[in-house]
């Protein structure tokens, strides 16, 4: 087991009270696995990603749980060990590439720096490796690109630089938070293909955070759906799409606009709850078409189905 998240709870301290953005989330990730964490805004998916590498900043706070990476708990690890994991054995890719590059440093230097810190390379060797990495992520003229500043790069190229940085130390796991949402559709397709190819060659595991179920299906073998800080369903891509169990998952899949259908757009009535004061029982019950009395008072346990799916809904026993 590469990564094992157990009972993870993270919250934000706000004037309105404690907001539990992630509550009691459990999942495992094997080597070579790809997992998409899907949810709407406010579902806690980004907080979860930030908690895994412990880069959640105040007012955010991890309250409970374990994040076992190769058997060692990231949440209790001393800072110096943690530093070897962040950017070393775990690479991260974020939504807005331009915001994560230092605007006053050349892109090649920013990649090389990772290698100097984690691998102890000298500048010259690190720069050579930066050129090689840029080539690997599909940049056509890597020798020129290393000398460019971030503002001289397009969105797609900047994201490739970020991917090169994430890959620099041959990580075992890449966490990508909405890696293509800021990019155009044609560039999105290219970046996805790059990530897919790299994973095939390097056997790197992937956690993809996205609001887009189609993207999740295109990039990952496993899918986990979150709602209001809770895991509602998890399973293989095929079983999630062919046989979604949780009413929220079903509605989410039905909400994907299809090409040329004259039907009504399904949508989901109501809006996601305020997490400072979440609904009692199942958090989805005020919007659920199958709501029962039990849903209003009792929180549904997460159960495993015969097909290996995990679902938290009172419809299933």
């Amino acid at each position: 087991m590469l990564l094992s998240v157990k009972g993870l709870t993270a919250c934000y301290e706000t004037p309105a009270g404690l907001v539990r953005a992630v509550e009691d989330v459990n999942f495992d990730l094997d080597k070579d696995d790809s997992l998409a964490i899907v949810g709407e805004s406010g579902s806690g998916k980004t907080t979860l990603a930030l908690s895994i590498t412990r880069i959640l900043k105040p007012p955010g706070r991890i309250m409970n749980g374990q994040v076992l990476f190769e058997g060692r708990d990231i949440l209790t690890m001393p800072e110096n060990e943690l530093r070897q994991i962040r950017g070393g054995r775990v690479g991260m890719i974020f939504q807005q590439p331009q915001a994560y590059l230092n605007p006053v440093l050349k892109s090649g230097f920013q990649i090389a720096e990772v290698l100097e810190i984690h691998r102890g390379y000298d500048r010259q060797r690190a720069m050579q490796e930066a050129v090689r990495l840029l080539k690997e992520v599909g940049i056509a003229s890597p020798e020129e690109t290393v000398n460019r500043y971030p503002f001289e790069l397009s969105g797609g190229m900047a994201q490739r630089v970020i991917i090169a940085m994430a890959l620099a130390c041959s990580p075992l796991l890449i966490i990508a938070d909405e890696p293509t949402s800021a990019l155009d559709v044609t560039v999105q397709a290219q970046i996805l293909e790059t990530i897919r190819r790299l994973r095939e060659q390097r056997h790197t595991s992937l956690i993809l955070i996205t609001h887009d179920l189609s993207l999740a299906a295109a990039a990952c073998g496993k899918i986990m759906v979150m709602y209001a800080g809770k895991l509602v369903e998890a399973g293989d891509r095929e079983s999630i799409f062919k046989n979604p169990k949780h009413p929220y998952t079903q509605l989410l899949i039905a909400s994907i606009p299809k090409i040329r259908s004259s039907e009504e757009f399904p949508g989901i009535a109501g809006s996601p709850p305020n997490l400072a004061n979440p609904p009692t029982g199942c958090r989805f019950h005020p919007r659920c078409p199958h709501v029962m009395d039990i849903c209003k008072n009792v929180e549904p346990p997460t159960i495993s189905t015969d097909a290996g799916q995990r679902v938290a809904c009172h419809l299933y026993k």
């Binding site: 709407e40 805004s41 397009s154 969105g155 797609g156 190229m157 155009d184 559709v185 044609t186 560039v187 999105q188 397709a189 290219q190 293909e193 609001h211 887009d212 179920l213 189609s214 993207l215 299906a217 295109a218 891509r237 799409f241 509605l251 989410l252 899949i253 909400s255 994907i256 606009p257 299809k258 090409i259 040329r260 259908s261 004259s262 009504e264 757009f265 399904p266 949508g267 989901i268 009535a269 809006s271 996601p272």
Partner: protein, 319 residues
């Protein structure tokens, strides 16, 4: 229509011209729902704003009901503003956070003297709220008390408050979650039929366009490259860029399929666009002529136009 933006041009920097829209011709019939698709920087938003005269074109004309709106002023311009309205991408930004919903909806009607008393304003605002599927309880609320979907309903109600007949939607659902997105799209479709509206619908999401629009215009780097009925466009796209755009759509079914044909490169700089056809550096079917001459948008049949040298009609028109 052409819209140029000047960049720089200080004491030392050389002035650069960015052509956001370059010689676009488009006509919209009453009752049409025309979708404008393309990547960022293609000129979609600029086109929508030009048509409403929120900005003025550098060259060209825009006629609405036969009147050139570029030259409109005074009373005539006010009349045009009542007829043609816009719904922006982000209701979080387009609604004033310190103004209650009632006033947000009443203000345009007061300005255009559609209502003359507090009572008539109140009853009109209530009607508008009902029209967009909200109840009277929203009258006294502030925008931050609303969800994204509810705020976008208010933005639509505001556009309709002055009895507009032509609406520009600029990515109306891309800042919303999928669950709210469907409801807003249903509302947009229902209102069109109920009120007999005409839409220009700007979106980068082709699946949405295929469901909402009757015609599709594809823009690339400031040019219109294809104009077709929705059926034609989605079954048989003619321009190679249209084909690539359709190929880039992600659907949940995609994992079953093999590797897709992927687009090369990225959209060009609009300050120094490529010579000839602007798409030629990325085009899988590029020919020598493509880098030398610019293809004109020409009729391929009675309902479809494209700007690509693969088609003899374009070759003739571009001579």
């Amino acid at each position: 229509m052409t819209k140029e933006y000047s960049l720089g041009g200080g004491y030392f920097a050389q002035k650069k011209i960015l052509k956001a829209i370059d010689g676009v011709d488009l006509s919209i019939n009453r009752g049409d729902t025309i979708g404008i698709v393309g990547e960022s920087g293609a000129g979609k938003t600029t086109l929508g704003r030009l048509i409403l005269r929120l900005i003025r074109p550098t060259a060209g004309s825009i006629e609405y009901d036969g009147k050139d709106i570029v030259r409109l002023a005074g009373r005539e311009l006010e009349e045009f503003r009542k007829k043609a309205q816009i719904v922006f991408q982000s209701p979080f930004l387009s609604l004033n956070p310190s103004i209650k919903i009632f006033d947000a909806l009443a203000e345009p009607m007061r300005y255009h003297k559609i209502v003359n008393s507090k009572e008539s304003a109140k009853s009109r605002v209530k009607d508008l709220l009902n029209l967009v599927g909200l109840d009277d309880g929203f009258l006294e609320r502030y925008p931050h008390e609303l969800s994204g979907g509810q705020m976008q309903r208010i933005a639509i109600a505001r556009a309709l408050s002055v009895e507009a007949e032509f609406l520009v939607f600029d990515e109306p659902t891309s800042s919303l979650d999928v669950s709210a997105q469907g409801q807003i799209l249903n509302l947009i479709r229902t209102l069109k039929n109920k009120l007999n509206l005409t839409y220009l619908f700007v979106s980068h999401n082709l699946a949405i366009v295929s469901n909402v629009c009757s015609k599709v215009g594809v823009m690339y780097a400031g040019k219109m490259v294809e104009l077709a009925s929705t059926d034609q466009f989605f079954t048989d796209p003619k321009h190679p860029y249209s084909q690539i755009l359709l190929n880039s759509i992600l659907t949940p079914q995609i994992y079953g399929k093999g590797v897709r044909e992927l687009p090369k490169g990225e959209p060009p700089s609009l300050v120094h666009p490529p010579d000839g056809c602007r798409f030629h550096p990325r085009c899988p079917q590029v020919m020598p002529i493509c880098s030398q001459r610019e293809p004109k948008l020409a009729n391929l049949d009675s309902t479809r136009k494209a700007a690509c040298f693969l088609y003899p009609e374009v070759m003739v028109a571009s001579n």
